[in-house]
């Protein structure tokens, strides 16, 4: 059945539908939507967005901060392939407990770096012992070393470049390139270069277990967590 429109052009049905309460709600809803939309638009138009490299650095740092144990497979200057484990933990050094990193390689080399001044290494080959501890820790994927630098550079919005899914940045005298998983931004590989050393490493995040800590504690000069 056809309903005749009233004087104002509204059908009885439409008038009922658009009763005063509905008009109030409709206008309020429209205003809220306008504030939401205008708010987003103003922010998008007025504020700069962080560069993709900065965002990628934060994502990579978040991955690195999330794990305390990283397993790595690396070679330096085309030399033999070495497997390693880097653990971030609390260590007893100099009579006090401090945070630090321990890198253990499968050839028996162990490197311990504990804040503020402890840097100890033992075992391994003469070539390994002659290498910069920083290069070894970077190739070992020691998470806090890399994460802290990435966070700092990201907050400064400079010093990080992103090209072909790899993040490059400088850390003291080294140039580090992290290859990232495209979808998640998780670091997969590390390439480290200095004036006279080149190294490549594949890294994998792992969970710290009692067994890992026990093995570490046996081989480390100082340990206690």
């Amino acid at each position: 059945m056809r309903v005749e429109p009233d004087e104002g052009g509204l059908t009885e049905q439409a008038r009922r539908l658009l009763g005063p309460g509905w008009v109030t709600l409709g206008v309020a809803g429209a205003l809220v939507a306008a504030v939401l939309g205008a708010g987003v638009l103003v922010q998008k138009a007025a504020l700069p967005s962080p560069a993709p490299a900065t965002l990628a650095a934060v994502r990579a740092a978040t991955w690195l901060q999330r794990y305390r144990l990283v397993e790595s497979t690396f070679s330096i200057g085309g030399g033999p392939v070495v497997h390693g484990q880097c653990l971030q933990d609390w260590f007893s050094a100099g009579g006090r407990r401090s945070r630090g990193a321990a890198l253990q390689l499968d050839d028996g080399f162990v490197l311990l770096a504990v804040q503020p001044h402890t840097l100890v290494s033992r075992g391994g080959s003469a070539a390994e012992r002659s290498l910069s501890p920083l290069v070894l820790m970077e190739l070992g994927g020691c998470p806090r070393v890399l994460a802290r630098r990435l966070d700092t550079l990201a907050q400064q919005h400079r010093g990080v470049t992103l090209a072909h899914g790899a993040l490059s940045f400088a850390l003291k005298a080294t140039r580090v390139t992290l290859t990232l998983e495209p979808r998640t931004g998780r670091p997969l590989a590390v390439r480290v270069g200095t004036r006279d050393t080149r190294g490549v490493s594949r890294i994998r995040f792992a969970t710290v277990t009692t067994q890992v800590r026990r093995l570490m504690s046996r081989s480390l000069p100082v340990y206690g967590s």
Binding site: P20, G21, V23, T24, L25, G26, V27, A28, G29, A30, L31, V32, A33, V35, L36, G37, A38, G39, V40, V42, Q43, K44, A46, L47, P48, S49, P50, T54, L55, V58, A61, T62, Q65, D151, A154, Q155, H157
Partner: protein, 391 residues
């Protein structure tokens, strides 16, 4: 028909022509504006002179890097740096670290606008904050006169101009803009200009989360006017009440879009030591002993909470309505639920009811003299110790 006739109501279209009436009103406003500008100038002069003295003679405290940048360096310190970072490079959430999504976007947007006009971010921040405070004083005076009377408005405005924690109004902080917007929003709502009220309330919330609490007085005003408003105007009024929440929602949407985390601002707050929880107040009280031992400056923040609570009680006795009291209470007490007394002195500046309470206490001429006599030296002391503790 003149242009004015279009806006004339039947009441206004009485014996005096509207143009003439407006001219008279403008003439009456000039001395009031000059009086407000005088108080603004006095308060800001005290702050600027103290900042220059601090710049030359110290203490440098924690703000070494900006204190000596130039004469007004101390006014750019603390959070001013973060607002400049947001304006310059946008938001970035660094999990577990203090990062900038903790700072709301309107002030950085204004800094960028100032920058587009050729000002540096720091200069733009100082200009906007200080001119914003002049606007805040004018709007606050008008609102107070609307709610109470002229003498109350004068006292409250003068006290606000030289309030000891008010040095923040001259720093690169959004407080002055937010106070102006809160007052304008309420004033517009009282005059049934709900569209403007909505814009101001939304902008206030987009500048500081405390802007959300203006929704309380707006809600009560909308309810009181409900019979006098058309259904459409009622909708605008309801929209104005919801606008601050929508504005905060727009910030979340923006962060979700840019950083992939709509709650980035809440996450960042956590890294600043602010995690809201139901028993946060107890945690704040419990941690007081430790806080005193670690840093005696917490005394200032605890004293600020006590002072604001006393002022709100005075406001209640003076007849300030409950929505304003409740919004003031929320501004002063809610931060304690994050487990910390930090910065409440600054947050309380956005509770107009506290200044109405102070103005009520100042009715007695002797009390008035004591309040003004204490405020100026305390303002100087607060400004002089700015390098030692964040506001």
């Amino acid at each position: 028909m003149t242009r004015y006739a279009w806006v004339a109501t039947l009441e206004q279209a009485g014996s005096v022509p509207l143009g003439l009436r407006r001219a008279e009103e403008s003439a009456r406003r000039v001395p009031v504006l000059a009086w407000i500008a005088g108080w603004w100038l006095l308060g800001r002069a005290v702050i600027v002179v103290t900042a220059i003295v601090v710049h030359h003679f110290g203490p440098t405290g924690w703000i070494k890097h900006v204190a000596h940048a130039h004469a007004l360096g101390p006014l750019q310190a603390w959070d001013g740096r973060w607002y400049r970072i947001v304006a310059g490079t946008g938001y970035l959430l660094v999990p577990g670290r203090q990062s900038d999504p903790a700072f709301f976007p309107l002030f950085p947007v204004l800094l960028r606008a100032g920058h587009a006009l050729g000002l540096g971010y720091s200069t733009a921040g100082l200009v906007i904050a200080n001119l914003g405070f002049l606007g805040a004083l004018v709007a606050f005076h008008a609102l107070t006169r609307d709610l109470f009377d002229d003498s109350m408005a004068r006292r409250a405005t003068a006290y606000l101009a030289v309030f000891p924690f008010g040095y923040t109004f001259s720093m690169i902080y959004p407080e002055s803009i937010v106070l102006a917007l809160i007052a304008l929003s309420a004033l517009s709502a009282r005059r049934r200009r709900w569209g403007l009220a909505a814009v101001c309330a939304a902008a206030a919330a987009l500048a500081r989360p405390e802007g959300l609490f203006v929704a309380l007085p707006l809600a009560v005003l909308a309810w009181q006017q409900r019979d006098a408003l058309s259904p459409r105007a009622r909708g605008v009024a309801l929209g104005a009440v919801l606008a601050p929440a929508a504005a905060i929602g727009s910030f979340s949407l923006y962060l979700g879009n840019v950083l992939g985390d709509p709650l980035a601002w809440s996450q960042a707050q956590r890294a600043w030591g602010r995690a809201f929880e139901p028993l946060g107040v107890l945690r704040a009280m419990e941690g007081l002993g430790r806080a005193f031992a670690h840093d005696a400056w917490v005394t200032r923040d605890v004293a600020a909470v006590a002072v604001y609570l006393v002022l709100l009680a005075a406001a209640a006795r003076a007849g300030v309505t409950w929505p304003w009291l409740l919004s003031g209470l929320a501004i002063v007490v809610l931060p304690l639920f994050s487990g910390s007394f930090d910065s409440v002195g600054r947050f309380g500046l956005l509770a107009p009811a506290a200044f109405w309470g102070l103005a009520a206490l100042g009715r007695d001429p002797r009390a008035n003299r004591v309040i003004l006599g204490l405020s100026v030296p305390l303002l100087v002391a607060a400004m002089a110790t700015l390098p030692l503790r964040f506001p």
